[in-house]
């Protein structure tokens, strides 16, 4: 009995940890703005989607890695050229803090458009289940 319980608990812990990974790639310190009327986000998103985060102080991060403006520019330009013809249609999602100044968000949008990307969307919270 005891070894079985050990193994079962190990499995529970394993599943719990791996289930959390998807959420871990975003910063938890960003307070997204509320938008109850916007369409709900699809479960299956384009695998090419790049999510850029902008916090309330204007810091730009992708997958928890802080980036400078020029670095972001380089990354996006490279992503666009890597995908060739389909490059400009890479969807961009901007997770910006509601208390961030528009100038910070604008900077990110300007870099996106400068790289040729046009599919830009802001992420907001539709429904808080609290």
């Amino acid at each position: 009995m005891t070894p079985m319980i050990d193994v079962v608990f190990q499995m529970i812990i394993f599943f719990v940890c791996t289930a959390q990974l998807e959420r871990e790639q975003f910063s938890e310190w960003i307070n997204l703005p509320n938008s109850p009327n916007a369409p709900e986000m699809a479960q299956e998103k384009d695998p090419r989607t790049i999510t850029i985060e902008v916090d309330d102080k204007g810091k730009i991060t992708i997958g928890r890695t802080p980036l400078s403006v020029s670095k972001l520019q380089k990354i996006l330009t490279k992503a666009v050229s890597d995908y060739g013809v389909h490059g400009p249609s890479i969807p961009i999602q901007i997770r910006a803090d509601h208390a961030s100044r528009h100038a910070n968000v604008k900077r990110v949008m300007d870099i996106c458009t400068a790289s040729g990307l046009y599919k830009i969307a802001f992420i907001a919270v539709k429904d808080d289940l609290e």
Partner: protein, 139 residues
Amino acid sequence: MRGKRQRRFAGTDTDVEVSMTPMIDVVFQLLIYFLVTFSTAEVLSFLDISRPAPDAAQEAQSPPADMIRIAVMENGYAINGRDVGDEELKVLLERLAAVSTKQTVLVNCDDQSFHGRLVDILDLCAANELSQIAVMSGK
């Protein structure tokens, strides 16, 4: 010995004891883990915007008449060049959207205004089924 083993694996042995103390330890560890990592799930939504190319920004100086222009300022909004408050904007936008939802909404956001206020406007557009939204940069 053989007989004893068989009986054990047949599950008829009442001697098998589960020592509770380590299990309770582990269960409490799990409980604490879940409590610490607990966070309510949020339903996310997205607001599509289209961006005029940077060099096209100059051309947009004189927008066509069937365009709704909304300016988001640090404190307040303006629609088609008229300063309005939150409620007034809502009413006006509803009225304009009733005419046609195919109109282009040109949102011009001030650098110093908060991102949340821009999203409020985009949300309002989404509520009125206006989907042609362009967000301009500049003062």
